[in-house]
């Protein structure tokens, strides 16, 4: 049966503003299916973003939402979670928002292991502002600010998250639409800071400049580079050259969660004096 997305979309908000073929819509649909599969209550769920095309997502979702300042989703979301630890707090945004201006907030949310889920739509570019390079733009690729090729190496968001202390890290792609909801649902259920990177496409400011002839070519590239973690175990380093692992990349259930630890601090403070 057709999935009923309407029940999670604010009335009258579609069509959304994203360009033809932009993967952000595919990710939003995955998030909706995940929230629906977990029977999340709208009044107990907050979707929080910064600024960017990806960060427009909360405006469409019919639950508690916050569209904040560029790079600051993690800071606002932390405030929501600390005030109401019982809420499901989901952060969404782009690679620019999350790893450039918001990079510091991102790593510290990981370090704290606060029980929230961060969905980062990595289209390797600042889409909204016309295609400036981001910390995720691959070396040699073109952006409006690197017309002769980007000299910088790009971040590996998943490794960054693991290194900074996130306790659940997964990666999917906009091509593998069927997997997105499953990864997000598992991330939401994890007790700790969970990061789901979705490799995405921006045909308008990234695709054209980097000689992708169409959205379809960009989707096929995502299909080609993705290797599920299980399959990768049986592959040689040579075979894995140029590939990107997908699926659940890291999970640690042993690390203390921040709101629980903070509640203990409050108890200790009350017992003192």
């Amino acid at each position: 049966m057709a999935f009923d997305y309407d029940k999670w979309i604010r009335p009258g908000k579609l069509p959304h503003i994203w360009c033809p073929g932009c993967g952000h819509g595919i990710v939003m649909k995955g998030l909706i299916r995940a929230m629906d599969s977990l029977n999340l209550k709208k009044e107990e769920t907050a979707v929080v973003s910064g600024i960017g095309c990806a960060s427009r997502l909360p405006g469409y979702i019919d639950c508690c939402t916050l569209h904040t300042a560029h790079g600051r989703a993690a800071a606002f979301a932390t405030g929501v979670k600390m005030a109401k630890p019982e809420m499901n707090v989901i952060l969404v945004g782009g690679d620019g928002d999350g790893t450039a201006i918001g990079g510091n907030h991102f790593i510290h949310a990981c370090r704290r292991n606060i029980n929230m889920t961060y969905i980062i739509m990595n289209n390797y570019i600042y889409g909204m502002t016309g295609g400036q390079f981001s910390p995720c733009t691959p070396t040699g690729h073109k952006a409006s600010t690197t017309p002769y090729g980007n000299p910088d190496p790009g971040f590996d968001i998943a490794k960054l998250a693991i290194g900074a202390g996130a306790t659940f890290v997964a990666r999917g792609t906009a091509f593998h639409a069927n997997q997105i909801d499953k990864l997000i649902a598992e991330a939401i259920q994890h007790k700790g800071f969970s990061v789901v990177e979705i490799l995405d496409d921006c045909p308008t400011t990234y695709g054209r400049r980097n000689k992708f002839k169409s959205v379809i070519e960009m989707m096929n590239r995502l299909k080609e580079v993705a290797v599920p973690v299980k399959a990768a175990e049986k592959m040689t380093a040579e075979q894995l050259q140029g590939k990107v692992l997908t699926g659940v990349l890291y999970k640690d259930d042993t690390k203390p969660e921040y709101t629980a630890e903070y509640a203990k601090v409050i108890e200790r403070a009350k017992a003192a004096k």
Partner: protein, 65 residues
């Protein structure tokens, strides 16, 4: 047993003509007609839901029983 066909609804108000549903349908059921996606050969549809799943714009629904 006779196979039951789904109803494929394309919401033109939402469709942005990206070609994704057409290209990734495994049975070549869909085509672009002018700007919008359109059903070409419903008989071939295997109700895999790929088109509905992939459409970035909430513009295609595969309605089965």
């Amino acid at each position: 047993m006779e196979k039951t066909l789904p109803k494929i609804e394309i919401i033109e108000k939402y469709c942005k003509g990206c070609h994704i549903c057409v290209e990734f349908c495994p049975k070549d059921v869909l085509e672009m007609k002018g700007f919008y996606a359109s059903v070409k050969n419903l008989e071939a549809c295997i109700k895999c839901m790929q088109c509905e799943l992939r459409c970035p714009d909430f513009a295609i629904k595969v309605i089965t029983e």
